[in-house]
Symmetry: C2
Subunit: 125 residues, 2 copies
DNA sequence: CTGGATCCTAGAGGATACTG
DNA sequence: CAGTATCCTCTAGGATCCAG
C-alpha cells in the first residue's frame, strides 16, 4: 500500500509548507522567534540582540508575527514607553519547528563547513 | 537547572536555523523538494507540476540544491536530452523537515483560514 | 524607549529569445 | 528536452528623519 502520487494530498502538503515559510520564514522572523523562546523581551532588548536589524524591520516583523497570532504585544502606557513581546500559547508551537530546523542546520554545517563562513559574520549577540 | 540565556548556544541555534532556511528556504526549493520526495523526476516533469515557475528559476534552484548535496542530477547524453533529479541519501533527511513544516502549516491554516486565500491561487498540479 | 513615515538599494524572481 | 543569456520587474530589506 504505497502512496501513489496523491495529487491532492501532495498539493495540500506543499501548500502547507509554503504557508509555514510565509509565516515564520524570511530573514528575521526565525531569529526573532529564537530569542522569544527564551521568554518575554522588550523591544530594545530584541534590538540589542540583533544589532544588524533596523527598527523598521524589527517593528514590521513583530507586527506580522502578532497578526499571525504567534506573539503577544504587551503595551505599558507610560513614559518612557515600554513594550514587551512574548510567544502566545499558540506561538510556542513553533519551538518544535525551530528545533527541527536548527538540528538539520547543524547537521548540514557538518557536511558543508564552508557554508557557515558566508553566514557567520552577522550579529553575534 | 534551567537554561540561563546561553548566548553561545543560542547563537549557534539561530545560525543553524538561518542556515536551514538558506538551504531549503525560498520561494521554490521547498516545493521542488516536496515533489522529489515522491521519487525521481525529469526536468520537464517538475516544470509541469509547477506551471508558475520559469525554466530559469527551476534550473537555478535545482543547481543550488545539487551543490548543497540535497539532490542528484542524472544526465543522459542522448537526443533529445534527458535529465533526472532525485533526492540524495542526505537529501532524504529533509523529508522530516518538510513533514514538520507541513504539519505546522496545516494547523496554522485551521487557525487562520484566510491565510490560504492569498496563497491558494498558485499552481494546482 | 518605541515606532511611524519616507525614500532608496539590492537582489530575488520573471519574460523572452536562443541553442545543443 | 533541457538549458543559457539577457533584460526587466518587484519587493524585501535598509537608512534616515521625525514623534509621542
Amino acid at each position: 500500500m504505497r502512496k501513489e502520487r496523491a495529487e491532492l494530498g501532495d498539493l495540500k502538503f506543499k501548500q502547507s509548507v509554503e504557508l509555514t515559510l510565509k509565516v515564520i520564514g524570511g530573514k528575521w522572523k526565525p531569529v526573532i522567534l529564537c530569542h522569544l523562546t527564551d521568554g518575554t523581551m522588550r523591544f530594545g532588548e530584541l534590538k540589542r540582540e540583533m544589532p544588524s536589524i533596523t527598527q523598521k524591520m524589527l517593528t514590521q516583523q513583530l507586527r506580522e508575527l502578532e497578526q499571525d497570532g504567534i506573539i503577544h504585544r504587551q503595551i505599558y502606557h507610560q513614559v518612557p514607553p515600554k513594550v514587551e513581546y512574548s510567544l502566545t500559547e499558540y506561538g510556542i508551537t513553533v519551538k518544535e519547528l525551530l528545533d527541527v530546523m536548527s538540528a538539520w542546520g547543524e547537521r548540514h554545517r557538518e557536511r558543508f563547513p564552508s557554508d557557515e563562513a558566508e553566514h557567520a559574520p552577522s550579529e553575534g549577540g
